[in-house]
């Protein structure tokens, strides 16, 4: 066994590694993460993300603490970016398709297919929510670019949303952040499906 490193050298080495890490962190901070990449895709969605983050952060904060604030902040950021990009991209992004704009007041959601996406530090999840007869008929995870397997949340969470007709999903153990992504994506999609004339 080799002799032990002197404490001074250990401290110096730790500082050197820390400096390398800080450099890499700052270099990659300028929008080169998957988080930033996914935010651009998320910006294709509606500007209701800010409402989604606002309404959901309270629920999720009790589950995952400080990390939820990152997600909420991201959702807000993507929504602010979307306010300008929506005008240019409009519905060509395919955020919704053939919604029935009938002015009924009994259905909470308008029929159609709506897309939503959300991202945090572990990656991005996109969903497609189909509303039929005012109810959530189908939820499909269209892309799951997270660092953990999609099988953690698929089909458990989509099935839950359809079965219970709610976005108040349970947090999947071991997949807290993937659950958050899915939650925000569904909320974002359903914000688009919201019936403005609904008086429930």
């Amino acid at each position: 066994m080799a002799t032990k490193m002197s404490p001074k050298f250990v401290v110096l080495s730790a500082l050197a590694v820390g400096a390398i890490y800080a450099t890499g962190y700052s270099v990659s901070a300028a929008g080169s993460t998957a988080l930033a990449a996914s935010s651009s895709s998320a910006s294709n969605a509606s500007n209701a993300a800010s409402q989604a983050s606002g309404s959901s952060s309270g629920r999720s904060s009790s589950k995952s603490g400080g990390q939820t604030s990152n997600t909420a902040a991201h959702a807000s950021r993507s929504s602010s970016a979307s306010s300008s990009s929506n005008a240019a991209q409009g519905k060509s992004s395919g955020t919704s398709s053939s919604p029935s704009k009938a002015a009924n007041t009994t259905q909470q959601y308008l029929d159609g297919t709506y897309n939503g996406s959300a991202a945090n530090q572990i990656g991005a999840v996109s969903v497609s929510v189909t509303v039929h007869g005012g109810k959530i008929a189908n939820v499909q995870i269209t892309s799951c670019y997270t660092h953990y397997p999609e099988s953690y949340i698929d089909p458990v969470l989509p099935d839950y949303v359809v079965a219970h007709q709610t976005t108040q999903i349970p947090v999947v153990s071991g997949a807290t952040l993937s659950t958050e992504d899915f939650y925000y994506a569904v909320v974002q999609a359903l914000q688009q499906a919201q019936n403005p004339h609904y008086k429930g």
Partner: protein
């Protein structure tokens, strides 16, 4: 009792209580007659065990488990740890009995099971946990050179089951699900174990090389959209890298002891890990890097053993001192 009270009592009482200076010189463990009144009792078996590297790492990992489990209320993860530890320990004991080892306490199996449980997600079913632990311990006893295992048992089993069974690996023991304020706990635990096993060069070189490659890749805009270098430098992936470097890379039986070899070992592990991450991403890159370094070391050991066998033959033929074999492991 203050020292003044003691000094005011008769000399005979003080002597009876403290013992004479000559007695202290003859008794083992006695240090100073003015500060110590009794010889230090020998440490018990538990304290002895906790002073060993395996005891230390087990204590630290259990601490991380408690912190992670309490915060996340992850009972399933704790159950997986218990299952993994029991399985690995049982197999270790059976192997020890079959080989008639003098010491059959399965501390290695317990640490292996603990690491497996801290990496596997709580959603993994218990049969998969049992299988993963069994593969880990089996690899330790089967894939070895001399008396030392080639691959880190936990890393080998986790990688194998990830590819074959697509096991969920959340690395919840690295405290990534907790607020970043808990990260110092992981670092402190890592500092303690790294200092205990004297693997500072290994950890520094690994982390330095790994971060440097990712920094260069971020500067050059390498990587793919889903697994960018920036992601690997952030929670939760950076926690996994720290956990792996502190608790798996430094595993004494599967990593070199000499500083120069530690540096080479870590460079191989870091380069392979970063390359795999940048190329394909996923979850296995840390394990692949570690196992690649294990394989690199095994090749070196095999070459050394062959060279020593040749030297031994020359020694027996010529009887010269220069040709005497000098391999520590096979000599």
């Amino acid at each position: 009792m203050s020292s003044n009270d003691q000094n005011q009592r008769p000399v005979s009482q003080r002597t009876a209580q403290m013992g004479s200076p000559s007695m202290h010189r003859n008794q083992p463990g006695a240090t100073n007659s003015t500060t110590s009144t009794r010889p230090t009792p020998p440490p018990g078996p538990l304290r002895k065990f906790l002073r060993t590297p395996k005891g230390t790492v087990m204590l630290l990992l259990l601490g991380l488990m408690v912190v992670g489990a309490i915060h996340a209320s992850d009972r399933a993860g704790v159950a997986n740890i218990v299952i993994a530890m029991v399985t690995a320990s049982a197999i270790d004991v059976v192997v020890g009995l079959m080989r008639k080892n003098k010491r059959i306490f399965p501390d290695g199996g317990m640490v292996t099971g603990l690491i497996i449980g801290l990496v596997l997600s709580g959603t993994v079913h218990w049969p998969v946990v049992v299988l993963t632990s069994a593969i880990a311990v089996a690899s330790k006893h089967i894939l070895k050179i001399g008396r030392k295992p080639i691959f880190n048992p936990a890393a080998f089993a986790l990688l194998l089951t990830l590819f074959v069974f697509h096991t969920g690996q959340s690395w919840w023991g690295d405290l990534a699900d907790l607020p970043v304020l808990f990260l110092p706990l992981l670092l402190i635990a890592g500092v303690i174990i790294t200092s205990r096993v004297n693997k500072w060069p290994q950890v520094f070189v690994y982390l330095g090389t790994y971060f440097l490659i990712l920094t260069l890749a971020a500067s050059l805009h390498l990587g793919n959209a889903s697994f960018t270098p920036g992601d690997a430098l952030r929670v939760p992936l950076v926690n996994a890298a720290l956990f792996m470097s502190f608790f798996m890379l430094t595993d004494p039986p599967t990593s070199p002891g000499k500083y120069a070899e530690q540096v080479t070992f870590s460079v191989v592990a870091a380069v392979v890990s970063a390359a795999v991450y940048l190329a394909v991403g996923g979850l296995a890159y840390l394990l692949i890097g570690l196992l690649a370094a294990n394989a690199w070391r095994a090749v070196g050991l095999l070459r050394a053993s062959r060279a020593n066998q040749a030297s031994a033959q020359a020694y027996t033929q010529n009887g010269t001192e220069k040709a005497k074999p000098r391999n520590e492991m096979f000599g």
